[in-house]
């Protein structure tokens, strides 16, 4: 009778097969992510803390301990924050306009958002230098109109930097917000108004909270793009506004200090991860 009490586990092979299939599906992406992303990241971390004499935190002390490099970090943060805030202020109403537009107008507006994405960042940044330089289109026009006599210094100012960055990264803010707004049921606003909420109250208590996921996605995208931007500050403001990205490039290409460049890269990554993690936390539905 003891043999009969132990039937063969017939279900087990089926479960194993399912698991194998699942692993089979995951494996390619896992290999790619591990190979081209995780591994270089570990190497980057390693390079930043190991030199000829072994373990060292000298690179991080230099980065976080000298006023100059703290200024560099602040420049990056400032570029990221200003670009994100201004891009948001422009994008939020634009996303609503886009969602309200119909037919051909909507197609044209969407095309004006998508087409610039096809052009390289370098091209767009150069375009801004052409517009803003002393003998550029903006200055020449203003002089021709008699509004100014001498060209205004626009290129290589922080204003030029922020204007260019906002312009270049704008689609990454508009599109996620638009995606949410386009699906927003107009009945929510109507329900709020019949319950006694004025348009302003409806906006702050209903529309804004319901579009928050789009805002958070756009903010995370634009901030991580602009905080780490390299081409835009290099072309539009240059040497006098060093950022983490330009510092990394200089450390690798000019100073030949890979350890220091790696440390700057880790700090930049840390900032980006912090922002993404924070936004993921904010966008999660509270229980």
């Amino acid at each position: 009778m003891t043999e009969a009490a132990l039937p063969a586990p017939v279900a087990a092979p089926a479960v194993d097969r399912e698991r194998l299939t699942a692993i089979g599906f995951v494996l390619p992406s896992f290999v790619i992510i591990a190979g081209v992303f995780a591994l270089p990241l570990v190497l980057l971390l390693g390079v930043s803390v190991i030199d000829a004499n072994g373990l060292t935190f000298a690179n991080y002390r230099r980065l976080l301990g000298t006023p100059y490099y703290l200024g560099v970090i602040w420049n990056s943060l400032r570029l990221g924050l200003l670009t994100t805030i201004i891009a948001f202020l422009i994008s939020y109403p634009a996303a609503f306009a886009l969602a309200r537009a119909h037919g051909a107008l909507r197609s044209v507006l969407l095309a004006t958002l998508f087409l610039p994405l096809a052009a390289s960042v370098i091209v767009k940044a150069f375009a801004w230098t052409i517009l803003l330089r002393s003998d550029g289109i903006v200055n020449e026009t203003l002089i021709a109109l008699g509004i100014i006599e001498d060209p205004i210094r626009m290129i290589f100012t922080e204003t030029a930097l922020i204007v260019g960055a906002v312009n270049i990264f704008l689609p990454f803010m508009i599109l996620p917000i638009y995606a949410i707004v386009a699906q927003l049921d107009p009945r929510y606003a109507e329900a709020a108004s019949t319950l006694g909420a004025s348009p302003i109250v409806t906006f702050f208590h209903v529309i804004l909270p319901l579009t928050l996921p789009g805002i958070i996605a756009g903010v995370a995208l634009v901030f991580s793009l602009s905080v780490s931007a390299y081409v835009v500050p290099t072309l539009l403001i240059g040497e006098k506004y060093p950022t983490l990205a330009t510092t990394i490039a200089k450390a690798y290409l000019l100073a030949r200090e890979p350890g220091f460049g790696a440390a700057a890269g880790v700090v930049l990554l840390g900032i980006a991860i912090a922002v993404v993690a924070l936004s993921a936390r904010l966008s999660r539905e509270p229980k």
Binding site: D185, R187, Y188, E190, A191, A192, S193, T194, L195, G196, A197, S198, P199, V201, T202, H205, V206, P209, L210, L212, E285, K287
Partner: protein, 359 residues
């Protein structure tokens, strides 16, 4: 209920969208505490009329008065109406209690008062135990109740229901019809329902307005609407009927004799001799066999549909005409398919409508 004073008055409002007239000089007066349904097919203007009352659609002309106040140009948030939407439109970022409290919060009501009102509204719809839940965690029926509680909590002058029950499954919908009517009567609410469901209209309302092409075809109590339809459209839209086309042979004092392909029939109505008309009767008026002083027609049974307490018998009367009779087992054996039978029905329950008003 003797509160006969007009509470909501719609005066000749019209609304056009481009070339389409959606509302065509609609007049409607509703008493305090009355439950009225706007019944009609999609596109008849019923939802636009409801939205005009709520302030969500601005009529091109006409006036809306609520509780003695002209609200024609008052924005929705200052009208004190409650709306229950078909999709409920519950705020997904708020809890059940948060949704119900919303209207009171934006009015600046004191917190203690809000809490009491929310509790009262939720217990009214039997959802007190779910106050802390998120909307996404509720079933369709529960969401419907929350939407109702949210609209009731602000004690609106009129409650407006836009196809509010149509998203529920049939059984739940029928339960809600009865429960909702009782609840609204308990709180003495004045309410307007918009629906295309005739059963819902007959069950829930004190009066029903049958709408067609931007006009109210008939405004009557459910019983009168069924027994004395004012137009062919109203006859068709509410309940079943036998309809036979013919020509008026003789007219006399509210009664006409009509020549039809199934024989000569008499009906109530005022027409000139020679007018093309549709003669109609409700199926429960048709009986097996002859009756004196009654209309009658014969034919072959085409189908027999058993529906519990009654059986619907469709008879092919020849020449493309058919008769629909609702028979009961108590009145004798139900005929079977292919049986040759004769049906008769009283002249006083036979109506005639002008042919060109064919819906």
């Amino acid at each position: 209920m003797s509160e006969a004073a007009p509470h909501l008055v719609v005066r000749s409002i019209s609304k056009r969208y481009g070339p389409t007239t959606v509302l065509d000089h609609i007049d409607l007066t509703i008493r305090r505490g009355e439950l009225v349904t706007l019944l009609g097919p999609s596109g008849c203007g019923k939802t636009t009329l409801l939205r005009a009352i709520a302030g969500l659609a601005q009529p091109d002309s006409g006036k809306v008065e609520l509780a003695g106040r002209d609200i024609t140009h008052v924005p929705p948030h200052k009208r004190n109406v409650g709306v229950v939407f078909q999709s409920y439109a519950l705020f997904p970022h708020l809890t059940v209690a948060g949704n119900v409290a919303f209207g009171l919060k934006v009015r600046g009501t004191a917190r203690r008062e809000i809490n009491a009102a929310v509790e009262r509204a939720l217990s009214l719809v039997k959802l007190g135990h779910l106050a802390g839940r998120r909307i996404s965690a509720l079933s369709g029926g529960q969401q419907q109740r929350v939407a109702l509680a949210r609209a009731i909590a602000v004690e609106p002058d009129v409650l407006l229901f836009d196809e509010a029950l149509s998203a529920l499954d049939r059984k739940l919908r029928e339960e809600m019809q009865v429960e909702l009517r009782r609840l609204l009567q308990d709180v003495k609410a004045t309410a307007i329902f918009v629906t295309h469901d005739q059963d819902e209209a007959l069950t829930m309302s004190d009066r029903v307005a049958v709408m067609n092409k931007g006009r109210i075809e008939q405004l009557a109590e459910p019983r009168e609407l069924y027994l004395r339809p004012a137009s062919l459209f109203a006859l068709n839209f509410v309940g079943l009927s036998t309809r036979i086309s013919g020509t008026v042979l003789a007219a006399d004092n509210g009664k006409v004799d009509v020549e039809t392909k199934v024989g000569r029939l008499s009906a109530l109505g005022n027409f000139q001799t020679g007018s093309p008309v549709i003669v109609a009767a409700r199926p429960e008026q048709l009986r097996l066999g002859e009756q004196s002083e009654a209309n009658s027609a014969a034919g072959r049974v085409r189908s027999v549909v058993f529906q519990g307490s009654r059986t619907l018998v469709e008879v092919d009367a020849g020449a493309g005409e058919s008769l629909l009779a609702e028979l009961s087992e108590r009145d004798g054996a139900i005929p079977r398919v292919h049986d040759e039978i004769r049906l008769s029905w009283p002249v006083t329950e036979t109506f005639a409508f002008p042919m060109e008003a064919q819906a």
